[in-house]
Structure formats: structure tokens, C-alpha cells
């Protein structure tokens, strides 16, 4: 089985935000929630880099470890998914996540949180693959259709890669050796406890 991962080649990202828009559209993400975002570091200064970031589907995911009601599960493809039926909206996964992935629709009083929403690697949720309930709660299940996440699929510079970790790491390595530079696989050390030697 493949171990699905994201890899953003920051030397290619042009901060066009198409991945953000594609994700929102494909998954019909609720208003006010962005499962993916582009962050520019040192904006306007020499050495500026942009990174597209969403849930990294961590190995030994911290969100899953701290969840008091155990809503998370990891699929055979290494994708970290959760059940909105079981989520109580306590916010703990949000404290634990290194990437700020979990978000909560604001419902009810004060800052009270609704059911957590995050990137699913376009793999839906616990409901039957491709069902109406699954789409309403989690968005598209492209993986079940044999497709990769749309954010990466439609990246104009092929900066954002999604797929089997070994395959995308190999693609990135080849790029780096051919062009002679690379600022590394952002977030990999934190999410997977490994980095790509370049």
C-alpha cells in the first residue's frame, strides 16, 4: 500500500492560491473554513518562499493521540481521517496540530466550536465511499475514484505534489539534483520525522 503524503516544492510555488480555491470548490468547504492555505515567509524580502499547507497526514498523528473521544483513524493509505459524528468540538486536536489544520465552524454561543473540519486528502470520511452523506460532511472522495487530491492535481507549477511518499520524494530529489537547489520538503521533519536528503 502506498503511504500518501503532501510535498510542497517551495522553490516552485508562485503563491497563486489555486490549490486553496480548488480545495474549497471540490469539497464544498463551509464558509469561513480553509482546509488549505498558502503562507509566504519573508514576503517582499530576498529569499522569500511560499508554502502551500494543509493537514500533512502525520505519522503517529498528534491530533489522534490527544482526541478525548477517539474520532481519528488512519487509512491503509496513511491518510488521517476523522468522524464528524463522534467529534464533540473540544478543540484539543487544534492545540496539538503543528500545522493548524483542524478548524471549527462557529456555531452557538461564545467561541463554541462545531464539528471539526480538516483536509481529508480528498478521501472523504467513514461513510460509504462516494455517498451523499460522505460528501456533505467531508467533501469529495477522489481517492476512491483513483484520483489524487485536486489541490496538487491542478497546481500550475507542479509545486504541490500529492501521492505515495516515496514517489513524490523521488520526483523532488530529481528536481533538486537537476536544477541544483532546493529549500527542502517543508513540514516533513515535523509530520513524518524524516526529511529528503538533497
Amino acid at each position: 500500500m502506498a503511504r500518501m503524503k503532501f510535498l510542497c516544492d517551495a522553490d516552485r510555488c508562485i503563491e497563486c492560491n489555486a490549490c486553496v480555491t480548488a480545495c474549497k470548490n471540490e469539497n464544498e468547504v463551509p464558509w469561513g473554513i480553509n482546509r488549505r492555505r498558502v503562507v509566504t515567509i519573508n514576503d517582499g524580502k530576498p529569499g522569500e518562499r511560499s508554502v502551500s499547507m494543509a493537514c500533512m497526514h502525520c505519522t503517529d498523528a498528534p491530533c489522534a493521540a490527544v482526541c478525548p473521544v477517539n474520532v481519528f483513524y488512519t487509512t491503509a493509505d496513511g491518510v488521517v481521517l476523522h468522524s464528524k459524528d463522534l467529534c464533540i468540538g473540544c478543540g484539543y486536536c487544534f492545540y496539538a496540530c503543528p500545522f493548524g489544520a483542524p478548524q471549527y465552524p462557529k456555531v452557538g454561543n461564545f467561541g463554541s466550536r462545531g464539528k471539526m473540519d480538516k483536509c481529508t486528502f480528498c478521501a472523504g470520511g467513514p461513510e460509504a465511499d462516494g455517498s451523499k452523506e460522505e460528501f456533505e460532511k467531508y467533501g469529495a472522495n477522489r481517492l476512491a475514484e483513483g484520483k489524487l487530491p485536486l489541490c496538487a492535481e491542478m497546481c500550475s507549477t507542479k509545486s504541490l505534489l500529492a501521492g505515495d511518499g516515496e514517489v513524490i520524494a523521488q520526483i523532488y530529489k530529481e528536481r533538486v539534483s537537476k536544477r541544483g537547489y532546493g529549500s527542502g520538503a517543508w513540514g516533513w521533519q515535523t509530520a513524518y520525522r524524516e526529511s529528503i536528503a538533497t
Binding site: 517551495a10 522553490d11 503563491e15 492560491n17 486553496v20 469561513g32 480553509n34 492555505r37 498558502v38 503562507v39 509566504t40 515567509i41 519573508n42 514576503d43 530576498p46 529569499g47 522569500e48 518562499r49 511560499s50 508554502v51 499547507m53 498528534p62 493521540a65 490527544v66 482526541c67 478525548p68 473521544v69 477517539n70 459524528d85 463522534l86 467529534c87 464533540i88 468540538g89 473540544c90 478543540g91 484539543y92 487544534f94 492545540y95 496539538a96 496540530c97 503543528p98 500545522f99 493548524g100 461564545f110 467561541g111 463554541s112 466550536r113 541544483g180 537547489y181 532546493g182 529549500s183 527542502g184 517543508w186 513540514g187 521533519q189 515535523t190
Partner: protein, 332 residues
């Protein structure tokens, strides 16, 4: 002569031009291999080392999402999954064990001279209302809070995921909403009893003589003895700290960022489990631990002999304030 000069000038000019062209071409030929675009690029590991988080700029309105990476959640995870369970388990179970052992060894502290049948008002209706409002909220807050830390290993396997979620969600709402009457209760307790809870010399004497807890001595005390003062300050400081940190978590991003909420959760959890342990002791001494103690907060009156034994100075004060014992009620 002039012709020769023109000639030399021409040759020199041609040479200079050739030299410039040579330099220019050699520079442009070398450029790709000389400039490394990542030489001055931001480096992930370096940024993490500097701040333990990476923040940038984005284009969506949610400014919180501009924090790209923050691995500190790992330490918080270890606290929540391992450290807190140890602290909480030892504090709560340890206190329970202690109380049981103490009860077996000491039993109920009796009123030495038996009941006199005459009673004196110890807590008025308002005081009792505030106490029980705070106490009822505290018990629900404590149980729903412990559920977040200990529910997953203890209750989830017994209840199954659906029932456990229903219960935990109800518990979360109760925890959120009851925090308000609890906080009001803590503030009122502070204002109401602060006068009688300033430590003084009598407390030192009380502690020195074991407070009647160790041994059978009954050192004199005013309205609140040193043990009760300790409980009072645990409620005021512990309740205050858990309220402040709780509201930081209840209103995310109003006061702090994620790192602040992680710290708030650590303080909230540690203070709360210690608070729960202390309250177990308080509940014990107020019920089965001591004869005649519960009625102080139950009906609001205590037996004169109980007061003589445990709060002699307070009784003298009360009696001298109303010589005919206006507040003391005759037995029926």
C-alpha cells in the same frame, strides 16, 4: 604624425572593446553556476530553531492561518496523554486513599460532650446558597473535566463510541455553561468570607497543635481555623486560576494564540486536579469525618458544644456580641 596617432587610437579602442566584450561574455557565461537561488532562501529548520514556529503572510482573511508550522504541540501532547494522567491519578486516587485510611484509623470526630441541644447560627441563607451553587457546579465541572482526560481509557471501552460521544458532548456543554455560575460563586465566596480568612497567630498555634486532625487536641479557633482558611484560599486561588485559564480556552484567540492556549490548558488541568483532590478532603471532613459539621452548611446552625470544641474563640465572640444569645436558638 597625426595619421600614426589616429592609428594607435583605433587599435587601442579596438583592444579596449575586445577586452570589455571578453569580460562581459565570461560573466554571463558563469552566471548560472555562480548564483544559487536558495543561498539566501528561508530555511525551515533554521526558522524553527529561532522561534519554534514559522509565521508568514497569507491572502485569506483568517490571519491565524498565517502560522505555517508550530511543532510545540508535541510537548503539549505528551503532557496531556502522559504527564497529566499521572498527576491527576496520583492526586485524586492518592487523596481518596488517604481519606479512607484516615477514616479507618481515626473514625468520625465526635462532639466530646455530646449535643447540648442549643444551636447557634453559623452560615446564613445567602452564604449557604452561594456555597451550594458553587459546590454543585464544581462537582459537574470536575466530573466533565476528568472525562476529557480519563474518559478515553476508562469509559470509552465500556460505553462504546456513540454513547461516549453523546455523554462527552453533554459534559462539554455543561462544563462550558456551568463555568459562569461557578465563577460568580468563587467571586462571592472571596468577598463574603475574606474577613475571617486572613491568617493570624491563632493559626500558627492551631497548626502547631495538629489542628485536632493529628491527636485529640482541640486548639482554639475563630470562625475559620487554619485548615478551613487553607481550603478557602485553595478555592479562591485555584478557582480563580481555573476560571481565567478556562475562559482563555472557551474563547479561542480572544486572549492568546495557540501556544498561549497550550499553556492555559496545562495550568487549567494541573490546578483542577489538585483542586479536586483538595475538595475530596473538604467533603470528607464536612460529612463523615466530623460529627455536627455538615449541619453548619446544611441547616446553617451548629450545636453549641460543637462550636465550643472546634471554634471556641468564634463562639465567645458571637456570645459577647449578643449577650443574651440573640443568634443562638433554643432547642425545640
Amino acid at each position: 604624425m597625426a595619421k600614426l596617432f589616429t592609428h594607435i587610437r583605433l587599435i587601442a579602442g579596438a583592444l579596449a572593446l575586445a577586452f570589455l566584450v571578453a569580460i562581459a561574455t565570461s560573466v554571463s557565461a558563469q552566471q548560472p553556476s555562480m548564483v544559487n537561488p536558495t543561498a539566501d532562501a528561508v530555511k525551515e529548520q533554521q526558522l524553527l530553531k529561532e522561534l519554534n514556529r514559522i509565521q508568514g503572510r497569507g491572502t485569506i482573511p483568517d490571519v491565524r492561518s498565517y502560522v505555517l508550522e508550530q511543532p510545540a504541540g508535541r510537548e503539549w501532547r505528551h503532557f496531556h496523554e502522559v504527564t497529566l494522567r499521572w498527576i491527576g491519578g496520583i492526586a485524586v486516587l492518592g487523596m481518596l486513599g488517604l481519606v479512607v485510611l484516615f477514616y479507618l484509623a481515626r473514625g468520625m470526630v465526635k462532639i466530646e460532650n455530646g449535643r447540648s441541644g442549643r444551636k447557634i447560627v453559623r452560615f446564613n441563607g445567602f452564604e449557604r446558597f452561594v456555597h451550594w451553587m458553587t459546590a454543585a457546579c464544581f462537582i459537574i465541572l470536575a466530573l466533565s473535566g476528568l472525562n476529557i482526560t480519563f474518559g478515553k481509557p476508562l469509559l470509552l471501552p465500556l460505553m462504546g463510541p456513540e454513547a461516549f460521544t453523546t455523554w462527552s458532548e453533554l459534559a462539554k456543554y455543561a462544563h462550558n455553561f456551568l463555568s459562569f455560575p461557578f465563577t460568580i460563586g468563587v467571586v462571592l465566596i472571596f468577598l463574603m468570607w475574606v474577613g475571617g480568612n486572613i491568617p493570624n497567630n491563632v493559626d500558627a498555634e492551631w497548626v502547631k497543635r495538629g489542628g485536632g486532625i493529628i491527636g485529640n487536641d482541640h486548639p482554639p479557633a475563630y470562625r475559620f481555623n487554619a485548615g478551613q482558611k487553607m481550603i478557602y484560599w485553595i478555592v479562591v486561588i485555584g478557582g480563580g486560576a481555573s476560571a481565567v485559564t478556562g475562559y482563555l480556552l472557551l474563547f479561542p484567540f480572544y486572549g492568546t494564540g495557540i501556544e498561549g492556549m497550550q499553556i492555559a490548558q496545562v495550568v487549567h488541568a494541573v490546578v483542577s486536579v489538585l483542586f479536586i483532590a483538595a475538595m475530596l478532603g473538604h467533603i470528607y471532613i464536612g460529612t463523615i469525618g466530623m460529627e455536627g459539621a455538615f449541619e453548619a452548611m446544611g441547616e446553617g446552625t451548629v450545636d453549641i458544644n460543637w462550636a465550643k470544641q472546634h471554634h471556641r474563640l468564634w463562639l465567645e465572640e458571637e456570645v459577647s456580641r449578643s449577650p443574651k444569645g440573640a443568634r443562638a436558638q433554643p432547642a425545640e
